[in-house]
Symmetry: C2
Subunit: 587 residues, 2 copies
């Protein structure tokens, strides 16, 4: 079957006078989760991972994937057709410049940002925009786009009326002397208009586009079937609704206007269409990103409530896990946690596919458990569970790593676990001035590992939405973080780890809320982190000798808080387990 797909695409490319074509794993919103109609990469190659890029030339076809997908790409694609390359070992841009010098390489301008396109042009590749996508021409049984209804996100969760949000963002546009902004991130739409949906898994938004005008009105482009009457009424007078095909003409109406377009997160199609129409494209960050990232007091209170409910399920799960070795599997454990969460008031689904992994699977950072991969949870090994939930008042994301017992863990594991914990505590206790970005703080989570020549190969943390994406920009704790200052109200994950390939993995993750730090005499404002997530860290894996007095005091105070806040919400059995799990550790 696949041969004919690749051959059909090549035939279509040559018909259009193209020498090659890019097939990224992307939809028109450049989002993390992609609806079935946008799964072009999977349709063409067979590869179903969440990130990848195929480059189809006349004589060769290459699939670029990152480290977590090397094995999966090899097993899912036909080696007779596809070369597989590790995207960080060999960047696609210089490879393509060398493999196809002077050739015309097509791309779908709805599936790549202006900055992404620029990287190919800078490498010397001749890039040709193609509409419609040649794959859509040959993909005859392509699914329809999702049409789940959008629903109001009520004020007692959102905390701020959509009209006020539109006013606030429009004021920022006017301040920058911009007439409008293009909104292509469905999470921005969801925040701005106080609506939610279910077009993709895990993230409760409705796919759509919008133009926000400097007068605070919004043109929303969304299939009318997705907007039942109550939702339309909820949107209010300032929002007009048009179907997706009206978008192109709406951009043409912006001739002569200064329009903000995000060069990193918006498909380049928008900037191209605006320029053709005589609009002035001003590169700038999606104006919803910063206000969305800083949660208002109602959202903050919602986050605390959601975390508390979520913690009761997690504590029950950790208690249950204590006897799981030899009896349960990675898959049954994930299913048990999901069942415990599903019973919680307000549970709307997982915020991502839980990572449930035992022993050597723990070292696979993005391990996905399935009936095929699941392995038993055995005695005397590490078990790692990274999971989260969507509630209307908040999104959760938590990782714990536990020892399955019954014996004491080996010294190496306790050393590594404690160093990861030291990194976690370093972030949790940090105080820092306003203006600092995530790139400046990430190293605190690593120092205890670095001192032994150890490290972990992912960022320390990511932003988290309010009943929205569990991976939310623009701020992260990472060497690669954008230079955007961390601000009060942001929710970030604090998740250092350590991974020994083929042996074990450790990750310790809480969510933290950025709060003002109170120094009345300070010359400038300072910030601190309030830890939101409440669940014990496995004391059997802590080597208290490696903790200094401040770190040990933090751990004991955190455990006391977990017991005080979650204990009363648990059945007697789990509460008694939690009391032991939260007992103060001596030096």
């Amino acid at each position: 079957m696949q041969p004919s797909r690749l051959a059909a695409l090549r035939f279509e490319l040559s018909r259009q006078g193209l020498d090659g074509f890019l097939v990224p794993r992307a939809d028109e919103h450049l989002g993390e989760y992609v609806p079935p109609n946008a799964e072009r990469l999977a349709w063409l190659t067979g590869f179903t991972g969440s990130a990848g890029l195929a480059v189809v030339l006349a004589e060769q076809a290459v699939l670029f994937v990152d480290g977590r997908y090397v094995l999966q790409a090899a097993s899912q694609t036909d080696p007779a057709q596809w070369q597989r390359k590790h995207i960080t070992d060999e960047l696609p841009q210089p490879w393509l410049a060398g493999a196809a010098p002077g050739q015309r390489i097509g791309y779908d301008p709805l599936l790549i940002s202006e900055e992404g396109l620029q990287r190919f042009s800078d490498a010397g590749v001749t890039m040709v925009p193609v509409e419609p996508n040649p794959i859509d021409v040959v993909w005859t049984d392509r699914p329809s786009p999702p049409l789940s209804p959008a629903e109001p996100h009520p004020l007692h969760y959102a905390g701020l009326a959509a009209a006020q949000k539109r006013d606030q963002v429009a004021a920022a546009l006017r301040e920058a002397r911009q007439d409008a902004a293009v909104i292509t991130d469905p999470a921005s739409l969801a925040w701005l208009l106080n609506i939610r949906g279910s077009d993709v898994p895990f993230t409760p938004f409705a796919l759509g586009f919008a133009l926000l005008h400097a007068d605070a009105t919004v043109e929303l482009f969304m299939a009318p079937q997705k907007l039942p009457e109550p939702t339309r009424a909820w949107l209010g007078d300032g929002v007009t609704v048009q179907d997706r095909p009206a978008l192109s003409q709406a951009l043409e109406r912006l001739a002569g206007k200064r329009v903000r377009v995000d060069p990193a997160n918006t498909p380049v199609w928008f900037a191209q269409r605006l320029r053709q129409a005589g609009g002035v494209v001003v590169a700038g960050m999606d104006p919803c990103l910063l206000p969305k990232a800083s949660k208002n007091p109602v959202e903050q209170q919602g986050a605390r409530a959601a975390q508390t409910r979520d913690a009761t399920a997690l504590c029950r799960f950790l208690h249950w896990l204590d006897g799981a070795a030899g009896r349960e599997s990675e898959l049954s454990a994930a299913q048990h946690l999901l069942a415990l969460r599903a019973a919680l008031p307000g549970f709307r689904g997982e915020s991502f596919a839980a990572i449930s992994c035992a022993g050597e699977h723990g070292a696979i950072t993005h391990y996905r458990v399935s009936p095929e991969t699941s392995r038993p949870i055995r005695a005397d090994e590490l078990y790692l569970i990274d999971s989260g939930a969507q509630f209307p008042d908040g999104t959760t994301d938590v990782t714990r790593t536990v020892w399955t017992g019954p014996d004491t863990p080996p010294a190496e594991l306790r050393d590594r676990f404690t160093r990861v914990l030291k990194g976690h505590i370093a972030i949790a206790t940090l105080i820092f001035p306003q203006g600092v970005g995530g790139a400046h703080l990430d190293a605190f989570a690593r120092r205890a590992l670095w001192q032994q020549g150890l490290d972990f190969d992912h960022g320390t943390g990511h932003g988290v939405g309010s009943y929205l994406s569990v991976h939310e920009g623009p701020v992260s704790l990472s060497r690669l973080a954008k230079p955007v200052p961390i601000a009060a109200g942001m929710i970030l994950s604090n998740e250092p780890g350590f991974y020994a390939p083929g042996r074990f993995g450790i990750r310790l993750e809480n969510l933290v809320l950025v709060q003002p730090a109170n120094f009345p005499a300070a010359a400038k404002p300072f910030l601190r982190f309030e830890t939101l997530t409440l669940a014990p860290f496995d004391r059997r894996l802590v080597d208290a000798v490696l903790l200094d007095a401040t770190e040990l005091a933090w751990l004991n105070a955190y455990h006391a808080r977990v017991l005080a806040e979650i204990g009363p919400r648990l059945d007697a059995d789990t509460r008694s387990w939690l009391r032991a799990a939260c007992a103060p550790m001596p030096r």
Copy 2:
């Protein structure tokens, strides 16, 4: 006198059809120190600070300076002619866009980088290149350019023959498929050709330009008088010499070639001239910067030797200082230290103007002592001395802050001093993986201050040259550091501080050398810092209770090393003082 200068400039501008003109404090090398013939800003405005920008319009003239020069600018310029603005409170680019909408603003393309120019264009200012500089037309008694002779920098200091350096850098150009690189930084020239000079104060290089070709030949543009026969012979066959005026034609000969030009550090004139001539300008960092920053083993050994010699002078000075309160002044102290250094073998001058400041002057980060500003050193206050020297085997830069006694310092000062010291030790003991940049490490120097809502308003460290600039790129320890990885062989300063305006200042600075950290089992290479500078920290100001066990151990080990390495090189009196100053501190 000044009125006629500004009036004469305005007349010349209107003659050339310009509405305004930029006068930066810059020479054709965009360097830190500027020869007298390039002191156009001082000639026009009277302001002699080391950084500033004048904007001359028909009806107004504005001088932009940073925080350290606000008072000096006010005292040196005529308020009837010049508005003075704080450059970080009001950026010149948006100010100019607002003050002169649609007007033609001239600039000298030899005095601004491509990135600097871009910031004005991005703000919407219409920028017009002007040659020759209109100031030069009206500055009738402008000095001649300096003509100090360039001298060979022998191999036992340089460590690597110029021919090998040229081969190495040319190979990097070929790898990037570039035909040539423009070299406008005299420090790069000095490193590449193994020559030194004395055209500007403090930095021992000869002003000049070069084109480095991919075949490893160099066209050097420098006044022939500056190259006596032995220096010419030393340059060798691969280097041809032409006078400065031949530069323009040489760029024209690069038509059709791909030429690397540094967009941040090279005057935009070069890129403009190359493009006019049909050359392809490839934006890229000066190819000498990275190899120059990573000192070779001979330079590293030279640095250690220079530091050891320098330390004997500094220890003698600190001993002398112990009885200086009430008797000496900021100026006499700086002169005494200079005299002690001048007696050292190989001393070639200061590496910058020493910052010698007592009490409240310590809070002025770039305080410059002069007969007018000098104040007595009094009892029971802080005295800060930041100074350095040029030796042919190395460049030094060291800061110590001492208590003048006789009473015990107040608790506040000991607290602040110890927190600065904790930051200094955090950097000194850091181990980190290759690939990390200075922006990721800077915060370690601040954490102990941040925890109390305190901070300091400068970077933690800068690169240091080898008998070259004491402020050397491309790497620094700073939130604003370029994203260039720290690499083995680099020399950086480690200089956290704390400043209480109007009261006191603290800064503790050693130079550190980046070394490989030896972890045989590590999955990737790690780096560490070797502290090069050897002089005691004032134990009277250390509150050992605030130090954890590791920090106290570092301090005591460092002092033991200072005593062991410097003690034997001192007279008996100073040695006995040093023994007390380096005595181990108990908890």
